[in-house]
């Protein structure tokens, strides 16, 4: 009898966890907004994560109006960007990329760090790859600029699989199998085969960051904000929607 009660109890608990998991994911999709790749703030479930020069700060926001600082984690020097993918935090610094897991959301744990030459570098990621732009053009360090692609299938062992030279890359964004990179113009790479990215189109605008939401492309540059309608089945078909000049 005791055993049966125990089993029922376990099942009941299991039901609870799967329930709350799926609802959390739905919440995460609809309740949060979206930033660009240069962002330093991100939200994962009930936690707000922020990076400054050296540190990752963790805030509990289970009461969303009343954040509580719960931890500060030293990461490294010249931290620049913070990007979340699934339960991972990707942190870009001038000397490399760091990947943290949030299994314990209050104490993120470093899984990997990859060093590269000194340059300004946002990082974004999908299921299998991390994409890093290295800008050596703006007094950020080396005089080399590149797009680096890492295989992160084994997230604690990122492997550099591709590096291609660029002019002065900044923000970047993913659109299915396409990667948009803010370089001297906005370059669009087909990354179906990430080891051999192919330049397939470009937009003649000077931008430093990008947000792609469904088929809407938003570019922000020093001279304005530009919006476009994308078409995933035809990447050549990009329709300009509006421009805000400053």
């Amino acid at each position: 009898m005791k055993k049966i009660i125990y089993i029922i109890f376990v099942f009941a608990l299991a039901a609870c966890t799967s329930d709350s998991d799926s609802s959390n994911q739905l919440e995460a999709l609809s309740d949060q907004g979206q930033g660009g790749s240069l962002a330093r703030f991100t939200i994962l479930n009930d936690y707000l994560y922020t990076v400054d020069n050296n540190e990752l700060d963790v805030f509990n926001i289970s009461n969303i109006e009343q954040p509580v600082q719960v931890n500060t984690v030293f990461i490294g020097f010249n931290i620049e960007t913070l990007f979340k993918y699934k339960d991972y935090l990707y942190i870009g610094s001038r000397s490399g990329m760091f990947i943290y897991d949030t299994e314990n959301p209050e104490a993120p744990n470093q899984l990997a760090s990859v060093e590269h030459f000194t340059a300004c570098d946002p990082v974004i990621a999908n299921d299998t790859h991390a994409f890093v732009t290295l800008d050596g053009s703006a007094g950020c360090g080396a005089n080399i600029s590149a797009l680096e692609i890492y295989d992160v299938t084994e997230v604690n062992e990122p492997v550099l699989i591709s590096s291609r030279n660029l002019i002065g890359p900044k923000g970047l964004g993913l659109y299915g199998n396409y990667l948009f990179v803010c370089d001297d113009e906005v370059k669009i790479f087909d990354i179906s085969n990430p080891e051999e990215s192919v330049l397939v189109n470009s937009i003649n605008k000077n931008a430093f960051d990008v947000i792609i939401q469904n088929d809407l492309l938003i570019l922000i540059g020093n001279n304005g904000l530009y919006q476009y309608q994308l078409n995933n089945s035809d990447i050549q078909n990009i329709i300009e929607l509006s421009t805000l000049n400053i």
Partner: protein, 172 residues
């Protein structure tokens, strides 16, 4: 072991380059000393004035672009250290500027439900907003979580204990 080798190489190079500098000074007398003073002046407020400086104003001309953020129909464009230009982007072919949210020393934002999280210079603030951004209220301020803002040429500000740096301006 590898790290040690790196350090030794670095050390040797440092010594080598140091000798270069001495050579140079021997040959020429017109070496320019690095500046010991910033070319910029800190703009600071007293803590009290700073904490009451966040407000929504009609709209304001966008003078400098910063990071962007989208949530529902809203598009927010940061003007570095000044605040956020808020657009109704329901129709991306015609974004409409609706408000300016003044947050001094701000560069970053993220939003969950109807709460904005923003860096307000050294503080983190949480604010609620209503649908037309006419009513924005600070619900929480966590003081001194972020580093003091350095000048663009990387100098520390020379300010009083009770002051907060919100920006830097070029001195003539």
């Amino acid at each position: 072991m590898k790290k040690k080798t790196h350090l030794i190489v670095l050390f040797v190079f440092t010594i080598l380059f140091t000798s270069c500098i001495w050579d140079a000074t021997d040959d020429t007398d017109d070496i320019i000393d690095p500046p010991f003073q910033s070319a910029y002046e800190a703009i600071s407020l007293t803590r009290e004035a700073f904490e009451t400086s966040t407000e929504v104003i009609g709209t304001k001309t966008l003078l400098e672009t910063g990071k962007i953020y989208v949530k529902d129909q809203y598009l927010l464009i940061n003007e570095p250290n000044k605040g956020f230009h808020i657009y109704d982007n329901s129709n991306p072919a015609n974004p409409v500027n609706i408000k300016f949210l003044k947050v001094l020393g701000s560069t970053d934002i993220t939003i969950k439900e109807n709460v904005l999280y923003i860096n307000n210079a050294v503080d983190l603030i949480a604010l609620t907003y209503n649908s037309d951004f006419s009513d924005v209220q600070i619900t929480k301020r966590i003081r001194d979580v972020f580093p003091v803002m350095l000048s663009p040429d990387r100098f520390y500000p020379n300010i009083g204990n009770d002051e907060v740096v919100v920006d830097w301006t070029l001195t003539n």
